[in-house]
């Protein structure tokens, strides 16, 4: 449904996208996961024909983003990151407006938006600008769906949204997928990655990896330990000074410690920590999550870049 080959985009000297290639199949939920400024919005704007790439090719539902832009616009739904509705129109008016622009009616595709719109019905005469964040997001999704798009582009639909509303939003996406709609969704929340069929991790305009969340975490390159103890902050600093430890990051109520040295297992590490005066510390081996993978891949990329810029790599 979406094919991208070697897409690049620069803004002046800033390389927003560097050599991006990927494909998304029909009915897939494909997540683009990365922090602000990584290039997610630029990529979405190219694929929705709102911005021209400097190089490379992209096709959406078989149409080229340059030559076939009119066809693409009729076939995709786009929900930009910033609230894009008409603030002075009511809920109902916004929806009617988007339906009319695409030459359809609310009734024609009501089945697609029904379970989302049911939650908005009580407010249908309220102006969009007066809705809560969660409600605005639901309305924007309805407006992006009303012309029955083949592909839905959702740019950070859950940013700034509380965890409960985020879960509800993902449940809605799952139901849309079941109706055969292909979904490209971007998010800075790594915990949402597991809800996608496949994900691309993006950092500084480059894809670090494309894979299913399951494969991604299975390929985490080193041993990962979780460490929990009474004085977490000192523990963090001292862990970083132990030889053989590649990285150590706080993860909620425990620290995740990536270990390069295969001989440094859970028992050895807890012995070392005890010797440093940390009592009651629990160390256990754990499976990496998407955030662990992201940090590892991005620090690896960073260090290889630094090496090549100092000329250490020939």
């Amino acid at each position: 449904m979406v094919e991208v080959l070697g897409v690049r985009k620069n803004y002046g000297k800033v390389r927003a996208l560097e050599d991006i290639s990927f494909q998304v199949g029909r009915g897939e939920i494909f997540g683009i996961i990365g922090p602000d400024g990584a290039g997610k919005t630029t990529l979405f704007r190219i694929l929705t024909t709102l911005l021209l790439a400097d190089a490379g090719e992209a096709r959406v539902d078989g149409f080229d983003v340059v030559k076939g832009y009119r066809d693409i616009r009729a076939r995709v739904g786009y929900m930009p990151g910033k609230f894009s509705l008409y603030q002075d129109l009511t809920v109902q008016e916004n929806l009617e407006f988007f339906a009319t622009v695409f030459g359809t009616t609310i009734d024609a595709n009501y089945h697609l938006i029904q379970d989302i719109y049911d939650q908005l019905k009580a407010f249908r005469n309220r102006r969009a600008g007066k809705l809560s964040g969660g409600m605005k997001q639901k309305l924007a999704l309805c407006c992006a769906l009303i012309h029955k798009p083949e592909v839905l582009f959702l740019d950070e639909p859950t940013t700034g949204v509380d965890p409960v509303s985020r879960k509800e939003f993902w449940e809605m996406l799952k139901r849309l997928k079941d109706q055969g709609i292909t979904i490209l969704v971007s998010t800075p929340y790594m915990d949402e990655a597991v809800l996608c069929d496949r994900i691309a991790l993006i950092q500084r305009g480059r894809f670090l990896r494309i894979d299913s969340p399951r494969n991604l975490v299975a390929q985490y390159p080193v041993q990962l330990l979780s460490v929990r103890g009474p004085s977490m902050f000192t523990l963090l600093r001292e862990l970083r000074m132990i030889r053989g430890i590649r990285s150590c990051y706080a993860f909620g109520d425990s620290h995740h410690v990536a270990v390069d040295d295969p001989l440094l297992g859970a028992e050895t590490l807890s012995g070392k920590l005890l010797a440093l005066g940390h009592e009651g510390v629990e160390v256990k081996r754990i499976q990496a999550n998407v955030e662990d993978c992201f940090m590892d891949l991005s620090s690896m990329e960073q260090s290889s870049k630094e090496l090549s810029s100092t000329g250490a790599v020939s």
């Binding site: 922090p35 602000d36 809560s132 964040g133 940013t159 949204v161 509380d162 990051y249 706080a250 991005s298």
Partner: protein
């Protein structure tokens, strides 16, 4: 020492009670997580504590000053940073520091040495004359936090400080919060990242304008039979019944 005290703090807008009799206390150097769903009343409560909005009833003190009678004293004793707005993009790193130092009344002779010290600790010396808009987001957040505590306030209010920041930078940011708290600054933080709730000494969860739960993350997880703060939050926030603006 109690740096923040709220007693039955209430804010009504017409018939709508945004904050409903909230009571809590926060100690010096504590990291206090202030959680709630969108529209639960967090921002309204925070505005009252910052001296920006008067309570309809109830009372509060911040750094010993009454939020209703001495709002200007409150404002001078706090730092504030939000993800949405923190720094002037068209000013350089150094100019932003100078501007905020002036606004918060840092004595002139202290500004230059503190600025040098700050730039050195952040590793920003090379970037001191760079426009803030040219900095990566993670750097901006670090600078914004440093600027918010530049005048050595009693409390720093952090409103979703890490939204959209990459995972490594998000953690470095929390290490800065730890350090500030260690130095005696109280941190009052809102966040939608539930792993960050675990970094707080105590956490309150607001539902429909009321404080539904307040305890250490460990005790909250035990009480709600949950493995993570995410589960605790979900249990409580799903009780919400009101639809808000």
């Amino acid at each position: 020492m109690r740096v923040i005290v709220a007693e039955n703090l209430t804010k009504r807008f017409g018939h709508f009670t945004a904050v409903d009799s909230a009571s809590f206390q926060v100690g010096q150097g504590e990291i206090f997580g202030f959680l709630g769903a969108n529209g639960a009343g967090k921002t309204t409560a925070m505005r009252m504590l910052c001296g920006l909005s008067k309570p309809s009833s109830g009372r509060g003190t911040v750094a010993g000053f009454d939020i209703e009678r001495k709002p200007e004293k409150v404002k001078a004793s706090i730092g504030y940073m939000s993800q949405k707005f923190a720094l002037y993009e068209d000013l350089t790193v150094r100019e932003n520091i100078r501007l905020y130092a002036g606004i918060y009344g840092v004595p002139g002779k202290l500004i230059a040495p503190r600025t040098d010290d700050l730039l050195r600790r952040l590793g920003f010396r090379e970037e001191r004359n760079t426009l803030v808009k040219a900095l990566p987001l993670g750097w901006k957040q670090k600078l914004a936090f440093s600027v918010a505590i530049f005048h050595d306030p009693k409390v720093v209010f952090l409103d979703e400080p890490t939204g959209g920041v990459d995972p490594a930078a998000r953690r470095q940011f929390w290490e800065m919060i730890y350090e500030a708290a260690h130095g005696g600054i109280t941190a009052f933080v809102t966040t939608h990242y539930m792993d960050e709730a675990e970094y707080c000494d105590r956490v309150s969860i607001m539902v429909d304008g009321r404080i539904e739960a307040l305890d250490t993350p460990q005790n909250l997880k035990a009480r709600y039979g949950s493995e993570s703060m995410d589960q605790v939050f979900t249990q409580l926030a799903r009780k919400a019944t009101r639809e808000v603006e």
